[in-house]
Symmetry: C2
Subunit: 125 residues, 2 copies
C-alpha cells in the first residue's frame, strides 16, 4: 500500500494539462489584458453613475455596483494553471477575450476553453 506506484496512481494533478513556458507567456498576457479591460469598464461606469447622482439612493446604488464588481472580478480572475481553462472559457463566453489572444496555446487547451465557453452559453440560454 505504501509503494510509490500506489501513491502515484492517486496523485491528484496527474490529469492536469502542463503549461509550457511559451504558453504561460500567452496566458499571462491574455489574462492581464482581459482584466485591464474589465477594470477600465468598471472605472468608466462608476464615473458615469457618479455624474448622474441626484439623490441619496443613487449613492448606495453606486456603492452596491462597486462592491458587486469587486467581488465578481476577484472571483473570476484567478491565475492558477489548474483553473485557467475555465477562467479563459468564461472570459470567451463573456466576450471579454478573443480567441486570437489565446493564439499559441496547444490545441487541447483551446478545445477545453471553447468547450467550457460553449457550456456556459448553453447553460445561460
Amino acid at each position: 500500500m505504501s509503494s510509490p506506484s500506489a501513491t502515484q496512481d492517486s496523485y491528484p494533478y496527474q490529469n492536469e494539462p502542463i503549461w509550457s513556458r511559451s504558453e504561460k507567456i500567452v496566458a499571462r498576457a491574455a489574462f492581464d489584458a482581459a482584466l485591464k479591460r474589465e477594470l477600465q469598464e468598471v472605472m468608466q461606469e462608476a464615473k458615469q453613475m457618479a455624474n448622474q447622482i441626484n439623490e441619496p439612493a443613487d449613492l448606495w446604488d453606486l456603492e452596491h455596483y462597486l462592491t458587486h464588481s469587486r467581488k465578481e472580478i476577484d472571483r473570476k480572475y484567478e491565475y492558477k494553471y489548474s483553473q485557467l481553462t475555465q477562467v479563459f472559457g468564461r472570459l470567451l463566453h463573456e466576450q471579454r477575450l478573443s480567441e486570437e489572444e489565446l493564439h499559441g496555446l496547444r490545441e487541447d487547451k483551446l478545445n477545453s476553453i471553447r468547450s467550457f465557453a460553449r457550456f456556459l452559453s448553453e447553460d445561460a440560454a
Copy 2:
C-alpha cells in the same frame, strides 16, 4: 409585587424628557436639515472622487468611502426621542447643526444637548 405602584417605580422611561408637540416640530426640522446637508456632502465628495479615478485602487477607495459614509449616517441619525439629545449633541459637536436650528426646544433639553457636545469635544481633544 403585582401592585400598580411597584410596576410604576421601575418604569424604565420615567426620567426621560417629554417632547411637546412644538418641540417635536423643531426637532424634526433640525434633524432632517442636518441629514440632508450630510447626504449632499457625501454626494459631492463621491462625484469628486469618481472624477479623479485613474486606477483600480481609486475604485475601491470610493467603495470604502461610500460604505463608511452609509454606516456612519445610519448610526448617527436615529430619530428616537430617547436618543435625540445625544443625536443633536453630536451634530452640534460636528458643526453639522447650529444652535439657532434648535430654537424652540426647552432650556433643559438645550443644556443636555450642549453638555453632550462639550463632552464629545473634550473627549476628542
